[in-house]
Structure formats: C-alpha cells, structure tokens
C-alpha cells in the first residue's frame, strides 16, 4: 500500500492558475476527502493525481515514485467518476472485468475476481444486465466494482454520490466507508458536500480558490477551524459569524455585539485588538437555550425549523441572522418562546475581521 504526496502542485490554464502550489501528504491506508466550493480545483487536483490532467508544476508522488511522467494506466490508481462512465454496450460483469481483460489477466482468474467483487458489492444478481437496466445506486456500485477489482494502490473518487437521491446517498456513504474498512486502500475522495466529508474522512482537506485552507480530522476542523472560510464550510448548519467590537479588559475581554456583551476567552491576540472589530464565531449547537448560563444574549426568534430530534431556531442577533441548533425532546413546547441563549466562552471563536484568521489559538 502506498501513500500519495503532492508537492507544490500547480495547474494552470493559460494565465489562469486553478491549483495554486498545494502541498499534501496522504498516508498509506488513509481516507482523505477534498472538500470545497464548486470551482475550487478539487477535480483538477484529483485528475492530476490520476494522470488525466497534465501537471503544470510541482510533483505528484505515489508510493515512492514520482508519477508526473507516468501514463494513467501505469500509475496503478483507479477512479470512480461522477457520471459513472460505465460502458453501455457491456453488461455488469464485462464492465467490471474490462480493466482485467485489457491487462491480460487469465480468464479463470477474471471470473473469480469479478464474482468476488460482485459479492462484496451485492451485484451478483445483476451481472448479466446492461447499465441502462440498473438503478442509480446499482450503477454506482458497478462503477466502484470496476475500480476495486484491480486492487489498485490508490482509489480516487470524484463526487461519486452526487447523482443519487438523499437516502441512497447516505446508504452508499456507509457502504463506501465499510468498503474502505475492508479493503484498506489509500483513498482520495472529492466532494462539495461537507456531510460526506465529515462522515467518510480520516482527514479532510478544505480547499478554496485553488489553495488548501486547512487539513485535519473532521473533529479538528469542526472544533478548531483556522479561519472563517473553514468555519463557514464545515458543520451543518455552519458556524454563526457575527461582527463585534472587543472591549472589557485584557484579562476579561468581552465582545460588544450591538449593545449586548459576550464574555470571550482571554488571549494575547484578543487583548491586542482592544477596541477593534472582530468576527465572533459560535457553532449553532453550542448555543444553549434551555438552561441559560451567565450573561445570556437576547435574540429575536423568527422561525423554528423542526428536524425531528433536533430543531433549528432561526433568530436575529443584533440584526445579523443567527442559527441555534437544539434538542427538541422535553423542550418542544417551549421552542417558540426562546428569546436568549448563552454559550460557554471556551466554545467561542474569534477571527480577525480582515484576514478571517482565528485569534488566540496555537498556530493561528
């Protein structure tokens, strides 16, 4: 098994730089998810690893081999495409066997390997069918079968679930996770869906505009986003961001939000900005509405969105939209009377208003 290393990887289209000198090290067996908004260069990065896109600068290393000049077929990677790209003229078995046959695998072995993969993916009853006669989820599975049957060093996925409906997507998500546990192959997975990223990844790479914003485990990104972009991208709904002015004292700084005061965790960075504006970040799930702590903030409730065990309270805090996520159990009847919340100061993030970088955190 081998890892994948990107060093100073660049992709240019003419003068347009769409991947900007990114560095990333994917460990053997690791499941890494590239996530970011549309057009940020995720697919381009993945395709450079696959060899489908020429590399404008930097290096891609698979295992201990620099593959910049290696043809896709010799990189020993397999890719699952967003549109599946199943061969419509071949049945499921032949689709899965295509790569094996091209590589001149002995016949009896091909049969065994296809049967094995079909078994893993639950495709055995459909081996004789053409792709046109399969459901979306089944097609998706065939596409994965085609990738795993070859036992490649690395799996690449480019938004493999984006064509499925929500229910099937979560089902396939679990299946991909199971598959990875079982096969333990280094995987790089592209998505713009942060839920997919959170649930699948060992580590998440958040990309924006051709550059990497942050790399970390899902919980690291969730709890300690390095900037407002990551904070606004990870979590559903994402972190609330409110403009505030730092006041109080260096030892006990507070954020002035409108005319309300919110105690902040003390830090040198924050103390430095006394009197200046910052962005305060509060996760929707960290806002407590049922047993208010010290110095709660008043909000104006606009809408209650009930999701079942949880509800989203759409409120306004100093005229800025603010979303609170709370449990419904026991409290359901009082949700529409919520008028304030409190938050543990240690769960509050403070970001520089201009650069968006987090303040008062190691490495920030």
């Amino acid at each position: 098994m081998s890892g994948v290393k990107l060093s100073q990887l660049v992709k240019r289209y003419g003068d347009l730089e769409v991947v900007k000198a990114i560095d990333l090290e994917v460990q053997p067996h690791e499941f890494v998810v590239l996530v970011g908004p549309s057009g940020c260069g995720k697919s381009t990065t993945l395709r450079m690893i696959a060899g489908l896109e020429e590399i404008s600068g930097g290096e891609v290393t698979i295992g201990d081999r620099v593959v910049n000049r290696v043809a896709p077929k010799d990189r020993d990677v397999a890719m699952v495409f967003q549109n599946y790209a199943l061969y419509p003229h071949l049945n499921v078995a032949d689709n899965i066997a295509f790569g094996l046959r091209i590589r001149k695998t002995p016949k009896d072995q091909v049969q065994k390997m296809v049967a094995e993969v079909a078994e893993i993916l639950g495709l055995t009853p459909y081996l004789d069918r053409r792709p046109a006669d399969l459901s979306g989820g089944q097609r998706q599975r065939v596409a994965m079968g085609r990738a795993i049957v070859r036992h490649p060093l690395v799996f690449l996925f480019d938004e493999p679930l984006s064509n499925l409906d929500a229910k099937l997507r979560s089902q396939m998500r679990a299946e991909i996770k199971r598959l990875h546990k079982r096969l333990d192959v280094t995987s790089i997975y592209v998505t713009h869906d942060q839920v997919e990223a959170m649930t699948l990844a060992d580590r998440i790479v958040v990309m924006n505009d051709g550059a990497i914003e942050q790399v970390g485990t899902p919980m690291e990104l969730f709890l300690n986003p390095v900037n407002t972009f990551v904070a606004g991208f990870i979590g559903s709904p994402p972190m609330n961001q409110i403009r505030a002015e730092i006041s109080g004292s260096s030892n006990a700084p507070v954020a002035k939000i409108g005319d309300q005061l919110l105690p902040l965790p003390a830090s040198a960075d924050v103390a430095d900005r006394m009197g200046a504006d910052v962005t305060v970040g509060i996760r929707p799930e960290h806002a407590e509405v049922h047993s208010l702590g010290t110095s709660p903030l008043n909000v104006e409730l606009e809408l209650v969105e009930t999701l079942g065990s949880e509800a989203l309270l759409h409120t306004k805090l100093a005229d800025t939209p603010f979303i609170i996520k709370t449990e419904t159990e026991e409290h359901f009847s009082t949700l529409d009377q919520v008028s304030a919340f409190s938050v543990n100061p240690h769960q509050i993030k403070v970001f520089d208003i201009d650069t968006g970088r987090v303040l008062g955190q190691a490495g920030a």
Binding site: P72, K73, F81, Y84, P88, R139
Partner: protein
C-alpha cells in the same frame, strides 16, 4: 398509441396534413420501383408502346432470360460485389481511425487538419488531374485502384468525427484508467458506442459503391473489370445501336426498355436485402445508462 380523442382540432388537422404528405412522398418514392419492376416483366412491345403503368402487361420473363444468360452480366455482378465489399471495408479502415484521430483534443494541429479534411468536400482537383494522378500511380484499369481511390470521403469522416466528439470524455478516461491504449480505447469503447453512426456511413459507402458508375467508366478499360452499372450502360447503348436487334424486336418478347429494367431490378435486389440487416444497428440511445449527466 395515443387516443385520437386527446388530440385538439389543430393537432388533428396537423396529423392529417402530415399523413397526407408522408403518403404522397412514399408513393412518389415507391412508384419508380414498381414501374421498373412492371416494365421488366412486360413484353417488349407493350413497354415500347408505353402501356405499362403499374402492373406488367403481357407478362414474360424474356428480358431476364436475355441478360441472365450473358456471362458478362454475371462477371460485372461479381465485380460490383468486389468493389462494394472491398471498397466499404477499405473506407471503414480509413474513415474510422481518421475520424477518431480528428476527434481527439490532444491531436496536434487538430483545427488545421480538420479544416484540411473539410476543404476536400468543397474543392477537388477535378476530372483530368485525378485521372492523371491515377495514371501516374499506375492505378488505371485496376480493380485495386477503384477500391482505394475512392475509399476516403470527407463527409463520412466529419460525420463520424462529430459522433465521436459527442461521446462523453469520461468514457475514454475510464478506459485509460483501466489500462487501455489508444487503439484499445477506439476498438473496445468508441467503436461499440458508435454502432449507429458506423452503420450509417457503412450504408452510405455500400450504396455509393454499388451505384458507382462514372469513375469506373473513366478508369476501367478491360471489359472483365467493369461493374454492373457500367455493364448496364453498355447494354443500353448496345441495344439501341444494334440495328439487327432493332429489326427483330418488333416481334421479340423483349426490348431495350425491358432489358434495362430487368438489369436495374437485378441490381436493386442486393441493396434491398442488405438494408434491413444494417438498419438494426441504427439503435437509438445506445449511450443510455452509461453516464449520468
């Protein structure tokens, strides 16, 4: 089937007009066939007198007898098969790889090469230079010359190239990831996916070859190499020039008209047999289910 009552009045009117037009067009296309067939089975006298309209008059097989006993007829028939099969295979051998290459974005100088190919659709050297060219290549009066000389046709290349271009790129990419080289991508993915387009150009090639007449007449001088269409022409001119024949045909059961018609019928039959066989490759939506957009 739609329920007729579900049509609005305007739709009904439209459906009727369309049906009538289609009917007229069908009749106009079909009638010459029926007429020729009827003439070929009529007596020479009736045909000459212009009595044949829809069905044979004074039915007879004399015209067929006249041509079927001629060895030249069978020879030219065989030659036409050789030109058609050989020429079509040769065309596909050039057109498919050519169209594939021209459809690939990575082809160096692709825009220019495409223009170059299209150029030959609008301009060509003309009769004399082409003839001289064939002469210099030692391909006059050569069956191989006929087969290779007309194998490449820009229109067919462009047609197939456009079809190849419409195949989503991810098919090629998936095949490449699976380890396929250029040739395997073409052979195992693009050709199977392009069956309808390839069937179309195959049919174009077959029909063009089968009916090929002019260049065969210009380039071939040996009687034993001519195709059926040239034989037909020879027969027509022979029969009308032949005084002896003209004298006898007053009583004869055949005439120049019926013999010509009989040859035409004989030459149509193979095309009629081939067409339905090719048509089954005109499957619609073969890409269906392979990719999801």
């Amino acid at each position: 089937m739609m329920n007729w009552n579900l049509y609005s009045r305007g739709d009904k009117f439209f459906a009727i007009v369309v049906s009538v037009l289609v009917g007229m067009f069908t009749a106009a296309t079909l009638y010459p066939f029926i007429y020729i067939a009827a003439v070929s089975f009529s007596s020479g006298f009736a045909a000459q007198a212009g009595k044949v309209v829809l069905t044979p008059i004074d039915s007879t097989l004399e015209a067929y007898k006249y041509i079927l006993i001629q060895p030249e007829f069978w020879l030219s028939y065989r030659n036409t098969f050789i030109y058609t099969i050989g020429g079509t295979i040769m065309s596909l051998l050039f057109i498919i790889p050519g169209a594939y290459a021209l459809s690939r974005p990575q082809l160096y100088g692709r825009r220019f090469l495409n223009l170059f190919v299209a150029f030959t659709m609008w301009f060509n050297a003309g009769l004399i230079p082409f003839y001289l060219n064939m002469r210099d290549l030692n391909l006059l009066d050569s069956m191989f010359g006929i087969i290779i000389g007309f194998a490449v046709n820009a229109f067919n290349i462009i047609l197939l190239r456009n079809f190849f271009e419409s195949i989503p790129e991810s098919f090629e990419e998936a095949a490449r990831m699976d380890g396929a080289n250029d040739f395997q991508v073409l052979w195992k993915v693009f050709i199977p996916l392009s069956k309808p387009a390839i069937a179309t150009i195959t049919l174009f090639c077959i029909v063009a070859r089968w009916n090929g007449f002019f260049w065969a007449m210009v380039l071939l001088s040996s009687e034993e190499k001519i195709p059926l269409q040239v034989f037909l022409r020879h027969t027509i001119s022979n029969l009308s020039d032949d005084d002896e024949f003209a004298m006898t045909q007053l009583e004869a059961a055949y005439s120049a008209e019926t013999v010509t018609a009989a040859i035409i019928v004989c030459s149509i039959i193979p095309v009629l047999l081939v067409y339905p066989w090719i048509q089954k490759y005109f499957e619609k939506g073969i890409l269906l289910g392979g990719v999801k957009e």
